[in-house]
């Protein structure tokens, strides 16, 4: 089970925009979903971030929403970075972690940009919907036309602002599209409370045909 990102693209951009998103000016793609996710997080909520990396998102949520935050990641140096931000973090497998918590222990679980790296996505998502009252999932839409173009015409593995690495430097991935994801939710009776589809700039809302036109998708899920 991988709970980490394949690389640290945009890390410099994070360094350049500390406290992130309140700052005006150019914002890296990586920070866009932080805004969307942040809007859905209730103030003072108890939040679990699966694949917390260096804790940027949780730090942002602590600053803006005063959440009580826990992050899970596999990497010691990322845990160290999260500790430096004052966060609670757990080094280990995200599913094992969730299994040791009672139902609805968290107000919200966040699984941002990690969905395509999960070993057993349905296991993780269902477990997250058990321990959390709500689940935010954000993922790169591999149905986005440019990603299709990469495969169809260039004959290459899709590359984008988050998944920047060529094949030989990437972790095993399990790419998904918006259509795949919505099919899954329907099949598992997972209620989609909110959805946001962003165009290739990851900023502009996608007006239509999201599976083709959206570069990034964020879903707010609940299990009734």
């Amino acid at each position: 089970m991988s709970s980490t990102l394949p690389s640290e693209p945009g890390a410099a951009a994070h360094g350049a925009t500390p406290r992130g998103l309140v700052a005006k000016g150019p914002i890296a793609k990586r920070t866009i979903d932080m805004q969307v996710i942040g809007e859905w997080v209730e103030p003072n909520a108890r939040v679990l971030d699966l694949g917390c990396g260096r804790g940027e998102l949780l730090d942002y949520l602590v600053q803006t929403k005063q959440v009580s935050a826990v992050g899970v990641d596999l990497d010691f140096t990322r845990i160290t970075a999260s500790v430096r931000r004052g966060l609670s973090a757990y080094q280990g497998d995200m599913t094992d972690f969730m299994r040791s918590f009672p139902d609805r222990h968290f107000d919200r679980v966040i699984c941002s940009r990690t969905a395509q790296e999960l070993n057993d996505p349905s296991d993780v998502i269902l477990e997250a919907l058990r321990v959390g009252r709500a689940l935010t999932v954000g993922f790169v839409n591999h149905g986005f036309w440019k990603n299709r173009f990469d495969g169809l015409f260039r004959g290459r593995k899709p590359r984008n602002a988050v998944y920047t690495t060529p094949w030989h430097e990437s972790r095993p991935a399990n790419p998904l599209t918006i259509a795949d994801f919505e099919d899954f939710c329907r099949a598992r009776q997972i209620r989609i409370a909110r959805r946001v589809h962003l165009l290739g700039d990851w900023r502009t809302r996608c007006p239509a045909f999201p599976n083709l036109l959206a570069g990034y998708a964020v879903y707010d899920l609940m299990k009734d």
Partner: protein, 398 residues
């Protein structure tokens, strides 16, 4: 109380004893508690002595205090040198000092020998004032909780207003946990490394073999022996076996392999030590008997075995319910005495209880003793935990 409350400035005068970032030459102090002290067992001592060291300077608000808790065979001397002739510095010298992860330019570090110990604090080898003879096995049964309550008396004596962090590995981690449970408003952070909330049957079993080695040695004599005598063979064997549990298979193989002693010669058909690992363990056993009291070993291993937070407080979550401190729990992959799972469980229980807690796991091959490792990664983690900003001020205990 004979001991002046000294708030020493870090001694740099004897830089030749160590490298420049050492705390230099340090001196132990004795805190004498003159009033009766009641143990958890109900037994009492008329008073006790606690030997301790401090490094750095206590600040005006008396809240820059880091308490270091030692492990079973450790002591109060965790950094610096006692004299320029010392061969080895304090046991955690790599972690503690000016500019080090536990920075003595910022923090006032206190480390005390546990009650029941034998390195200067009152324990079974101390004379019973009623008889003039050592207490031996008439010493009250000591628990980790008793050790912590005794150390709190020392901290009160030093005028400590608040503990910035309590740090301990192995048994020291048990003390740290009880510090934040028993004195929740007093301790702001705890760092627990290679520890457990209760020993496994295997760990208890190893302790029992050690105790039997001591108690089956005729020189133990029901705990009555002269100061320079006693069950030297039994204690050495106990230490040899325990030492194996502090290492790992891979680590020992890397250090010793099947290398033979130079003096072993070509004759394989002798029973005397041939392999380096044999002579290493013999040396460990022999040097241990010169510095450790067998009855203390019995008492402290018993305290380790009795330690069980879930049993004592109903559950681990209930044990941690009063905790205000932020916690950092660190496990080590090759530790099979207090393995990573047992350290994870501490962090998970803290999180389930709604506390701020982090679990980090370092990949090492040095076994249980990994917490003493010279590791930049570990130092970075300790620094991150100690030097991060003030805790956010909202209540986490939802």
């Amino acid at each position: 109380m004979t001991d002046e409350v000294q708030v020493p400035t870090a001694s740099r005068s004897v830089a030749e004893a160590g490298s420049r970032d050492d705390v230099g030459i340090v001196q132990a102090h004795d805190f004498i508690y003159p009033r009766p002290f009641t143990f958890k067992s109900g037994q009492t001592l008329p008073g006790f002595t606690m030997r301790y060291e401090t490094y750095g300077v206590l600040n005006a608000t008396r809240d820059n205090v880091i308490v270091i808790c030692h492990a079973l065979s450790g002591d109060h001397h965790c950094a610096g040198w006692h004299s320029a002739a010392d061969r080895k510095p304090g046991w955690w010298n790599n972690l503690i000092g000016p500019g080090k992860a536990v920075d003595t330019r910022r923090f006032f570090v206190v480390c005390a020998n546990v009650l029941g110990g034998c390195q200067g604090s009152t324990g079974p080898s101390s004379p019973n004032p009623a008889t003039g003879e050592p207490y031996g096995v008439r010493f009250p049964f000591v628990t980790i909780r008793d050790m912590v309550h005794a150390q709190k008396l020392l901290l009160d004596h030093l005028g400590v207003a608040e503990v910035y962090a309590v740090i301990g590995g192995s048994m020291g981690g048990m003390l740290a946990m009880l510090f934040v449970i028993e004195f929740p408003g007093f301790v702001r952070r705890q760092m627990v490394m290679a520890s457990t909330s209760r020993e496994s049957a295997q760990a208890i079993a190893f302790n029992e073999v050690g105790r039997q080695a001591i108690m089956q040695d005729p020189a133990w004599n029901q705990g009555v022996y002269p100061r320079d005598g006693g069950p030297r063979v039994g204690l050495a064997v106990a230490r040899m076996m325990a030492h194996i549990t502090y290492l790992s298979d891979v680590g020992m193989d890397r250090k010793f392999g099947r290398r033979k002693r130079e003096s072993a010669g070509s004759d394989a058909y002798i029973l005397d030590a041939q392999f380096e690992v044999e002579s290493y363990l013999r040396h460990q056993g022999q040097s241990f008997v010169t510095r450790f009291d067998a009855n203390s070993y019995l008492y402290i291993t018993r305290a380790l075995d009795q330690f069980d937070l879930a049993h004592a407080y109903g559950s681990l979550e209930q044990a941690f319910a009063p905790v205000h401190a932020e916690s950092l729990i660190v496990g080590f992959t090759s530790d099979w005495l207090f393995p990573p799972e047992q350290n994870r469980e501490i962090a998970l229980a803290l999180l389930r209880a709604g506390k701020r807690a982090t679990y980090a796991e370092l990949a090492t091959d040095l076994g249980h003793d990994s917490f003493l490792l010279e590791s930049e990664e570990l130092y970075a983690l300790v620094r991150a935990f100690l030097e991060r900003g003030e805790p956010y001020v909202f209540d986490f205990a939802i």
